[in-house]
Symmetry: C2
Subunit: 208 residues, 2 copies
């Protein structure tokens, strides 16, 4: 299969969320035009995105809502359950552990790690905090697909090394630093400072 751009994947995600809404409303079919309107893009873009994976629509009619949402779930790999560990038992980590959205989408948070001796062994959001030093050993018996990094900037580089050594191939990074990882590890960054600065830039440069 040819390389799919990250922007395409983001849009697929978006289309899926609209489709799920429409599915709940009981809508049977939807056109690329309507999907585009909901997603703030163009109908050609929608059709191009979908055409990368097959042809799911009917000419003259549009797309079957349940069929297309099923296909998208399949494309996005949402059929299976993913095993997730959170690294960093601080505030952000805690907020994430409480976040219901993980489980709803089949992402099971099954362990928390931290490097702070004072926290290790403590009960925390239904889990027991483990030492990051044990991650590699643990991962041999208990598989992790995704590591969610909620560590302070300074300690993140070291943590990433351990996550990679544990064989984890996907990282959701909340630390405000850029990660260096081998090519077969996928990283997504969530960086609030960056988003705020983007807004600040937009406000400062309007109409120029």
């Amino acid at each position: 299969m040819k390389r799919i751009a990250e922007s395409t994947v983001r849009r697929l995600s978006l289309y899926l969320s609209f489709l799920e809404g429409k599915e709940r409303e009981g809508l049977k079919t939807i056109s690329s035009d309507e999907l585009a309107r909901l997603g703030g893009t163009t109908s050609a873009q929608v059709r191009k995105d979908l055409s990368l994976f097959g042809s799911f629509g009917k000419r003259g009619l549009g797309y079957s809502v349940p069929e297309l949402s099923g296909k998208l779930r399949e494309i996005l790999g949402l059929g299976k359950e993913w095993q997730v560990c959170i690294v960093g038992a601080g505030k952000i980590g805690a907020a994430l552990a409480r976040y219901r959205g993980f489980a709803e989408r089949g992402f099971n948070v099954t362990a928390v790690y931290d490097s702070d001796e004072a926290k290790i062994g403590k009960r925390w959001e239904n889990l027991t905090v483990r030492s990051i030093a044990e991650l590699e050993r643990d991962a041999a018996k208990q598989h992790f697909d995704i590591a969610v990094l909620a560590t302070p900037g300074e300690s993140t580089a070291g943590v990433v090394k351990q996550v990679v050594r544990a064989g984890i191939k996907a990282i959701l990074n909340f630390a405000p630093v850029q990660l260096t990882v081998p090519g077969d590890v996928t990283v997504r960054n969530v960086n609030m400072a960056m988003e705020l600065e983007g807004l600040s830039f937009a406000l400062s440069n309007r109409g120029e």
Copy 2:
């Protein structure tokens, strides 16, 4: 000034964070190559990004760390203080209100709104929850630059209307829906479900 791509602004943000690190280490100059290495991009990209705003480097030497970080702060509009309101006094809103990163960067959270009668008037994270119905009136006396939306999906569309009517031109959206806003309003989305699905896609399609 010509239109600046969002990807460029994100990188500027990233460069700034590296520069601040280097500044703390006391480094005096840095090359585009080093900046590129830190940011996972190329030196040509770094130079091109910066050249959109002026020429800040010295040939043969590189960039002065304090000078460039100052310029970037200026470009990104981080010189001033921005007034921020949070809309949605739920879990995510609370986590955001507690987040120290806002204030550190000059983003002052000065009000919280919600539509839930039960919450209105309650003391909450050093602020008093106000009714969303009052946002427009409040905004006339107390200026807000940025609205942070942490509302449930269903009620978000209505809230956006009120935010726009209140004259707010920048929105940081945590609700898992796409916002419809006039062209002069800038929106940045933070959508965890989308990030997780991106990782799920990557894990499902490795090596194809």
